[in-house]
Amino acid sequence: MVEYILQFLASAITEGSIYVLIGLGLVIIHRSTEVMYFAQGTIAMAGGVALYGLFTQGHIPLVAAIPASLLVCIILALASQWIVVLPLLERGVTPLSVSMITIGFATILDMVAMILFGKDPLAVPSFSGDEPAKIFGASIVPQDFWIVGLTILVLFLTLVFFKKTWIGKAMTGLGDNALLAKASGFPVRRLFTFSFVFAGLVGGLAGIVSAPISYTGYWVGTRLVIKGFVAAAVGGINNPVGALLGGLIIGFFESFTAGFISSRLKDLITILLLLLVLRLRPQGLMGEKQIG
């Protein structure tokens, strides 16, 4: 029994970590720009796919391939900011419409990925082998440790960033009170850029660490961004802690469903959770009630 529970916990935390990373990017961008960044999943996909290209195909060592893939993601996120999001926002297009347009950006990237790497699932080997470790009877692969470990590292660094650095605090302030931020002379554009760099980084990381677990490919983005949005919606779309909570909650729900009900239904349960949250508490667990 204990192994069963531990196994379930392990997979819950592992899967949840991925969703936390994606959700975190969504929350940071939404907080500063009010845009729902539908391209986040595709950015994650780009990370995984780039890793495939560099590591599996290009035989570049992991130590170099991973940072290079992250760089690709950051560049793509910045491109979306400069080409799409900022120009449209400055023209007065509503954030909601801009959100829809990020879907367009995502489909373009998906198409590029498909052209470059084809339609077959792409295999990326695990970072440190596949020999599972046995912990109290539960079997956990090394990649899971990478995922959870890196997520914890990212969370820690994020916390430090937002609590200790001035840019982080300024970004928090911007999310709090955009008017005051402007009146205080904040370099708002630069802060936006940081939000996108951050999102690119965490999203890319999510795609990179999860690529070895499940095959990656051009279709992965859509699935990830939907889950990421569920995480953000459950937790509260303006709160990074919300992303953490939301991601873990979904991880748990999916694991539970897969383990104890049926693995086919796990996606369904997640979506039903989204609908339930939107119906009962649309602002999420950590969100503030909005009027109207």
Binding site: K169, G173, D176, N177, K182, A183, S184, G185, P187
Partner: protein, 246 residues
Amino acid sequence: MLLDVRQLTAGYANLIVLREISFSMEVGETLAAIGSNGAGKSTLLWALSGMIRPKSGQVLFGERDITGWDCSRIVALGIGHVLQGMHVFSSLSVEDNLMLGAYGQGLNLQTLKDKNLQIVRKYFPVLERKKRQHAGSLSGGEKQMLAIGRCLMCELKLLLLDEPSAGLAPLLVKRLFEILDDLRKEFSLTILLVEQNAEAALRFAHRGLVLAQGQMMLKGEARSLIDNEEVRKIYLGKGTTSGGRS
């Protein structure tokens, strides 16, 4: 002359709120802009601090033409704008709120910040006591002090205050004006004060400006505008026959 405003016209979208306002301010002077609502008082401050771009006219600060400049550049010059409504960054600490006041300047010199922080501590000791608290938990008066303190962090030369007394109890208002008085004496601070509480503002200021419907109706020494029949008429409607009842 520190501030020279010439024929300033400003508004939002296609709504003109301010029409051809002209006035000037010397270093160390306090000017009170009074008038009832819709007169354009807040708009004046928004146009001066870069929150909105003027539609026409000129704003000169020192020797520089700062017309149409962006907020961040204007803050860097030492012009601080305290918005109406006791705005703070509620999820950050009091200390962070203050330090972020210097963030806009671009120069994050530690010494500069520390020096200004000392000034803030001296004049708003309550902020020092509560420096680790979330700014959202402060009382109204404390938030107002925090807002002013934040401006002090950026080598303040000109302070734009938007209805500082709004929502505050009279005793707090009195205290606030006392602190402002001390500040302006020590640092030759120039203050442009927008207020609805005309009497309090005029007693605090050197000169006054009366606005109505976006236009400047009267200008003059603050003393002369207090208990002034003209001012009263402007506030309560020109040409109202008082019927000898006053």
